[in-house]
C-alpha cells in the first residue's frame, strides 16, 4: 500500500472522501476498508457470533457499499451508513443460515394477577453500571445473557438499546410491524431483566 497517499486521504473532509469514492478511486476504497473494517467486524459479530460468519457479512457489506456509494446522499456520516449496511448484511446471513421460525419468549411467568395487578417479587437487579463499565468480566456476563436470548429478542435489544436505531428503522431492518417491534422489545427487555436478576443470586 502506498502510505503517503493514504495519509492524504485521512486528512480529507468526509464529503471529499465520498466524492473520491463516487469517482471510483481505489485508494479511497482501500482506506474505508482499513478505517472501518474492524468496527464493522465488531458489529457483525454481535449478531452472528462466529468470526468466520462476521467476516462473510463484512465482505458482503463492502460489496453492497461499493455498489451503492453513488446513491449515498450524505444525510448520515459514512460510518453510520456503513454501520447500517453491515447490520443488514448480518441479518440477511442470519436469515439464510438459521431459518428458525420467529421465536417467542414464552418462559416469562405472568407478571400480573387475574385483576391485572402486578405480582411483587423479591428479585432485584443490583449490578451497578459503574462497576460494569470498569469490569470486563461483568460486561462479558451481561453479553452472554443477551446472546442466550431467542434470536429475535436478541436482535431487537441490539438494534434498539445498543445501536440506537428507532422503532421505525428496526421495523424496516427486521421486516416486522412497528407494534411487533414494541411488544417484542418489551418482552426482550423483561427477559433480560429477569436473567440479570437471577445472575446475582
Amino acid at each position: 500500500m502506498d502510505l503517503s497517499r493514504n495519509i492524504d486521504i485521512i486528512d480529507l473532509p468526509e464529503d471529499q472522501l465520498i466524492e473520491k469514492l463516487k469517482n471510483g478511486d481505489p485508494a479511497s476504497f482501500e482506506f474505508i476498508v482499513r478505517e472501518y473494517g474492524g468496527y464493522m467486524l465488531t458489529i457483525a459479530k454481535r449478531y452472528l457470533g462466529s468470526e468466520a460468519d462476521a467476516q462473510d457479512a463484512v465482505q458482503d457489506a463492502y460489496a453492497q457499499a461499493f455498489r451503492g456509494i453513488n446513491n449515498f446522499q450524505g444525510r448520515s456520516s459514512l460510518k453510520s451508513w456503513l454501520h447500517r449496511i453491515v447490520v443488514n448484511a448480518s441479518l440477511m446471513k442470519l436469515r439464510t443460515y438459521k431459518r428458525r421460525p420467529i421465536d417467542l419468549i414464552d418462559d416469562i411467568p405472568s407478571l400480573f394477577d387475574s385483576n391485572g395487578k402486578r405480582i411483587e417479587t423479591a428479585a432485584e437487579v443490583t449490578l451497578s453500571i459503574e462497576e460494569v463499565a470498569i469490569d470486563s468480566r461483568q460486561r462479558a456476563l451481561i453479553r452472554q445473557q443477551i446472546d442466550a436470548l431467542p434470536e429475535t429478542a436478541k436482535n431487537l435489544l441490539l438494534l434498539r438499546d445498543i445501536e440506537g436505531y428507532s422503532t421505525i428503522e428496526v421495523s424496516e431492518l427486521l421486516g416486522i410491524s412497528v407494534s411487533s417491534v414494541k411488544t417484542g422489545l418489551h418482552r426482550a427487555r423483561q427477559a433480560l431483566k429477569k436473567k440479570l436478576e437471577i445472575q446475582q443470586r
Binding site: M40, Q59, K117, R118, E124, D161, L185, H186, L192
Partner: protein, 98 residues
C-alpha cells in the same frame, strides 16, 4: 362508560386510573417519550400510586442501562484491526465486480 370512569368523573378526578397490566403496555412508549400528554398523565398517576410498578420501572430502566454499559467499550477500545486476508478478499471482489 364503566363504573370506574363514572366514579372518577363524579369525584372530579380528571385523570383516569389504570391497572398495572395497562401501565406495563405504556412502558416502551414512555421511555421513548412517545406518549401523548393525556397518556403520560395517566402513566405518571399510576407510577405515583403504585410502589411495585415504580420499582419495576426502575429495574427495567437499570437493566437497559446495564446492557448499554456491557457494550460501551466497543466504541472506546483501541480500534480493532481488520485481518489482512479479509482486506485482500474485499478489494479483490471489488476488482472482479468492475
Amino acid at each position: 362508560m364503566n363504573t370506574d370512569d363514572s366514579k372518577n368523573i363524579m369525584n372530579g378526578d380528571s385523570i383516569p386510573s389504570i391497572n398495572c397490566k395497562s401501565f406495563d403496555a405504556f412502558i416502551v412508549d414512555y421511555i421513548d417519550d412517545n406518549l401523548k400528554d393525556e397518556e403520560k398523565k395517566i402513566f405518571i398517576r399510576h407510577l405515583i400510586e403504585c410502589a411495585p410498578c415504580k420499582k419495576y420501572l426502575e429495574d427495567y430502566q437499570n437493566s437497559i442501562a446495564l446492557s448499554e454499559a456491557a457494550f460501551s467499550n466497543d466504541e472506546k477500545n483501541p480500534k480493532k484491526e481488520i485481518p489482512e486476508q479479509l482486506v485482500s478478499a474485499i478489494l479483490a471482489a471489488r476488482q472482479s465486480a468492475k
